[in-house]
Amino acid sequence: MGSFGAVLLDLDGCLLDSNDAHARAWSRALSRFGHRVSASRLRREIGKGGAELIRDFVRPGERHFLGDAMGKVQTRIYLSGFERDVRPFPGAAAAVRRMRASGIPVVLASSADRRVVERSLRRARLSGVLTGFICADDVRKAKPFHDVFSLAIRRFRLARRDPVAIGDTPYDIAAAHQIGLPCIALLSGGFPLSSRASAEARFEGLARHWSSGRSLFQ
């Protein structure tokens, strides 16, 4: 494995322990459109962009016409009912600060809505620390498609810095590998280890990753 010079970091399940909260917010949002889907079933889909996440649970026409509205309702429910109970993973924000202090560009690349990303960064006290962020609002197709990573590399000129993606879901790995980007998997998001078998490396969480995987970086 090479020596990496830039990080494309996922948000939910990496910086924040928020995957369960998102699943519950999706369950509630879908129920408002007449679909009863349990949070535990939706939990496996967290990490995908909204349009992909709802694919198995709604009618195709409904997804086409109402997919954006469902995403907006989920965001509203998450921000008003769940976000206040979400906590950053211990040491995760500090690890990002140390990466930045070491001169490594760190770009957040998330499938979440812009308002969720901005509020989450404030909660983790990382608003002015990151090199920048790319969110679902910036791309046509969010994860598991590669668009958030591709745009992040292009917009922040990271191609020559040997970037690596860091994420907690199989969808991060799939998106990264579509464009030949290596991916480090974090186990903090609660997905089974087997679903991250194809990742280039695996760590318990972001704090642990930086303390024991420092040698992976330039």
Binding site: H64, F65, L66, D68, A69
Partner: protein
């Protein structure tokens, strides 16, 4: 009218001399949920993403198309109020037809009804001719 993308036609309002009869016909043809009173007429559909509403034709307005509802994304200049279908909309009159351009942003006020069970058109194929005629 400014918006980002045209998603497609999602609803139509028709004037009919017998709205209940025509609603049953639409329901049978497309295998839709039972008709209900909504949008100022008798409505059949699967949810906000597709509906057909039949309104009673007035003497001065013969049967025909009354409204066409089109869904878009990124609609600009629409009033903030959310309508019963969960959208913000702008209306234009084009000849005798009212064009409604809508961006869905929220859940519908009325929970969508489930689609009718069974195959599309199955009931029409199995119902006796006399009964079918009686339904019309």
């Amino acid at each position: 009218m400014k918006f980002d993308a045209l998603l497609g036609l999602h609803g139509i309002v028709l004037r009919s001399d017998d709205p209940s009869r025509d609603a049953r016909r639409w329901r049978r043809a497309l295998g839709l949920a039972p008709p209900r009173k909504a949008l100022g007429g008798v409505t059949v559909g699967v949810g906000p993403e597709f509906f057909v509403t039949l309104r009673q034709a007035a003497p001065d307005a013969p049967p025909g198309v009354e409204e066409i509802h089109v869904a878009v994304s990124g609609l600009r200049g629409a009033p903030g109020a959310v309508d019963a279908l969960g959208g913000r909309m702008i209306e234009r009159r084009i000849g005798r037809i009212r064009l409604v351009v809508r961006e869905f942003i929220a859940e519908p006020r009325q929970r969508p009804r489930r689609r009718a069970r069974g195959k599309v058109g199955a009931r029409r194929e199995t119902a006796p001719l006399a009964r079918r005629k009686g339904n019309r």
